[in-house]
Amino acid sequence: MGLLAALTRGLVRGADRMAEFTSKRGSRFHNPGRGCKRIGFLRKDRKFCLIQEMIPEFVVPDLTGFKLKPYVSYKAPEGEVAALTAKQLFMDIIAPQIEKDVKNGTFDPDNLEKYGFEPTQEGKLFQLFPKNYVR
């Protein structure tokens, strides 16, 4: 069956009810938008106030001398890297410091802040729990 015949077979029976009802269809006052995130709010006098902080801004550091490129060579072997866990991070960074202090005899269990312990997430810009950053 040709393409036109197949199309007409589908359309003769009726409209496609499962199609998305976007702002292209319906009356000219039907304007639902296409799923963008909010970047401000509408005031009482129907003026839209833009909040600059809500507009995403890409912060990119200087990439001179950066060796990684968009694609990877086919010659590179396949492999897996173990996922980074909290335990692994602790053992790599903090455990040696604590070990050194214990050996010197200066380990103080009440002063764990110097190893990076955070009793609360209040006051931090990037809180770990509840996570308040996108990534």
Binding site: G35, V59, L68, Y71, K75, A76, L89
Partner: protein, 218 residues
């Protein structure tokens, strides 16, 4: 534009197929496939015997013997495998002829085209005695997963995996946008307690003293 649509565009090769899509012999996304399977088409589901992805034994490039059908008893090379339908296309076997290129006075050429065979109608061949056998997945002493013929116990090696683009990794020459092998494999990660965002802020000298207002959600 919708984020899902944008991501689908960038995904490209892994474009999602509609639910209930029935695989045919044409590659999904090709003109012939779009002609036969328009997006609104809903066909009855094909019933297949339940088989997990790990138990699949036949791969492209294997030699198999056909058990049932017109070419029963013949051995051939697998040219294509369509796992969604449990189909195996064997090169040159189980062919029917179709007329191609009929225009005006020219009668056209008869071209052989392979019909797909079901997984049940095909078995793998033991390379030692070149006879059909039952095959099982087993582990060697090193821990490698191999196909073992049940009759003789010989390992059937996996066929050479050919890249669909025809690229041979050993003969590949890196382009300007390719990360070299050493750079890709080099481990440059330095563990630190700072999050990625905090590190970038520190490196770029961004100081942010404002804090977000406390909010709650359930």
């Amino acid at each position: 534009m919708r984020l899902t649509a944008l991501l689908a565009m960038t995904a490209g090769a892994t474009a999602k197929l509609p639910p209930g899509y029935r695989h045919g012999t044409h590659r999904p996304g090709s003109y012939a496939d779009k002609l036969r399977n328009p997006p609104w088409l809903r066909r009855k589901r094909v019933i297949l015997e339940p088989l997990s992805e790990e138990d699949w034994k036949v791969f492209k490039g294997d030699t198999v013997e056909i058990l049932k059908g017109k070419d029963a008893g013949k051995q051939g090379l697998v040219s294509q495998v369509i796992r969604a339908r449990h189909w195996i296309l064997v090169k040159g076997l189980n062919v029917h002829y179709r007329c191609v290129g009929k225009t005006g006075n020219y009668p056209g050429i008869y071209v052989p085209s392979e019909a797909p065979l079901m997984l049940q109608q095909v078995t793998l061949i033991d390379p030692a005695d070149r006879k059909p056998t039952e095959v099982e997945w087993r582990y060697t002493e090193e821990g490698e997963r191999v196909r073992v013929s049940m009759r003789t116990g010989r390992i059937i090696p996996l066929p050479e995996f050919e890249h669909p683009d025809g690229i041979v990794p050993e003969l590949w020459v890196d382009g300007p946008k390719d990360t070299s092998e050493d750079d890709a494999v080099a481990k440059t990660y330095k563990a630190s307690l700072k999050t990625f965002e905090e590190e970038i802020m520190e490196r770029m000298g961004i100081i942010e003293t404002r804090r977000a207002r406390k909010s709650f959600w359930y």
